[in-house]
């Protein structure tokens, strides 16, 4: 197995005047081809920061050190232009708030087209066909209509699917999904997770899946890294982490999850027996 992405000793700090506030410290991980790395942690733990730092999405106020290689090519220290060509092309991204991730003033089709135009040399007709294909692949029923719509006219789940489709469209070798299910309703959440599982099954693409939700991660992650206050506190295969977490914080997360799940299961079972006990 070859590593698609290899990150060593990544540190990110925020410059405030002369002070440096460390945000991410000494994080290292590998993503193998066709596998999924889950990054787990509460908000503010540095999960998203890590990925933004890798892709050069942080501005000058942040200082990033460490080393990283994507398909053998260094990412940190690469020129902004080189990183830009990677983003959206070889590395696709799916972000958290689908409702606010699209420019409200342009139609979906226009925004998809500008992305495709940036990375390919398709003609008008071919571009149109490609976009319809993408949406069909994402099981959107009326692709032509969706292309003509403005972002505010579509639901969060729909926009999230457009985002996933767009990330998949240029045959990336890595997709980074930053809390893709957090901001949408639970029914769409399930559908979105199905899309990711499907993508993973095809085995072409590696995934980095960032979430604060252990339940979601357990559906898809092969390896899991747990982050807490800017540090990687636990890592290993998903089963291993779930069963024998050594770190106190991770155990806390897992226990909580188990407690919620058992209550949930209890509630479901209680619901099956008529009336009594439904108060649980």
């Amino acid at each position: 197995m070859s590593a698609i992405l290899d990150v060593n000793d990544l540190c990110v700090s925020f410059r405030q005047g002369k002070r440096r506030i460390p945000l991410v410290e000494n994080v290292s991980f590998r993503v193998e081809k066709g596998r999924c790395l889950g990054i787990l942690g509460e908000s503010g733990s540095g999960k998203s920061m890590t990925c933004k730092a890798l892709l050069g999405l942080l501005d000058d106020n942040f200082e990033v050190t460490g080393s990283s290689a994507f398909e053998g090519m260094p990412l940190l220290g690469a020129s902004p232009e080189k990183l830009r060509r990677l983003r959206g092309g070889r590395i696709g991204m799916v972000l958290q708030n689908p409702m606010s991730c699209f420019d409200p003033l342009y139609r979906i089709g226009e925004q998809m087209a500008e992305t495709l135009a940036e990375h390919t040399r398709l003609g008008r007709r071919a571009m149109r066909e490609k976009m319809v294909d993408i949406l069909n692949l994402m099981r959107i029923r009326t692709p032509e209509d969706v292309l003509r719509k403005y972002p505010h006219q579509l639901s969060g789940g729909m926009l999230q699917r457009v985002m996933i489709g767009l990330a998949m469209s240029l045959n990336p070798s890595l997709i980074i999904a930053d809390e893709p299910t957090t901001a949408i309703d639970s029914i769409s959440q399930f559908a979105i997770m199905q899309e990711f599982v499907r993508i993973k099954r095809q085995g072409e693409v590696s995934l980095i899946f960032i979430s604060h939700d252990l339940g979601v991660l357990s559906l898809i992650a092969d390896e899991v890294m747990v982050m807490h206050q800017g540090r990687a506190v636990e890592s290993g295969t998903a089963r291993h982490v779930f069963d024998n977490a050594r770190d106190a914080y991770t155990r806390h997360l897992i226990d909580q999850h188990k407690a919620v799940m058992s209550r949930f299961l209890a509630a479901i079972h209680a619901g099956k027996t008529p009336r009594e006990g439904s108060a649980a």
Partner: protein, 320 residues
Amino acid sequence: MTWLEHGMKNYIIMRLLATIPLLLGISFLCFVFINLIPSDPAEVALRIRQTPIITEELIAQTRAELGLDQPFLVRYFVWLWDCLHFDLGFSYTNPARTVLGEIGRCLPATLELAGLSLVYVIVLSLPIGFLSAVYKDTLFDRIMRGVVFATTAMPVYWVGLLLIWLISIKCDLLPTSGYGGFSSLILPAFTVALSYISTYIRLIRNNMLENMREDYVLYAQARGLKQRAILVRHILKNSLQSCVTAIGMSIPQLIAGTIVVENVFAWPGVGRLCIASIFNRDYPVIQAYVLLVGVLFVFFNLAFDILQYVADPRLRERKS
């Protein structure tokens, strides 16, 4: 698409109807204004006709003739009817001239002035605001912020005087004052524009910075779009959405703002006419000027409101 355009038409009609009470309010204010002045309009009218001896009887007769014995509201509507027919009465100081003629004579000069200052505002504040936001906290941005701050504290007339002294007297580049050709227009227009330029530099800069923090910018970067394309196609377009409306609504303010500058540069526009009329107590001219600016204000508000509505897909949707 047809239902959408239908909604748009409804919105425009609604908006047009909403201006009617506002216009009535403004005209009523103007009418009240002329009725508050201490002198008797009948007496004034007699003097305009150069009647040699003004007697009480004659005044009473003229009152009836002019409809001044009618109730207040009736007179208001008669006056309004005249206004709608562009009949604004005669100047007190120069009875041979109609108010409309006076305004019409001076308006072109003011419009030239306001027009060129609008050009200045757009040409200077857009790029400077844009660059200040893009190169935030660099030397350029700092200097521009200093300039913006200084200009908001400077009295317009003082800027005008300094410009006359520096450019016209010291360097002898442009005429000091008066009306004659394009070269005499450059300095006054710049003086009018200056305070608006700094307002809009600040507006555009802040708006751009606000937009830069939006999620759609992050996603545009994540899609690998070029930084320049993101700045121009996305951030600038979104910022302009609100700025264009603000600039459009300030057009009547530009026209009103020429008053001071016209007096500094001896520019023969309506602003100078207005100040002269105040000194001469030529009330109908002042009234017409106030009415003119008020109507312009309402009109431009309306026009740019509709423009914004047409340009923003979100608004279009919501209102219909």
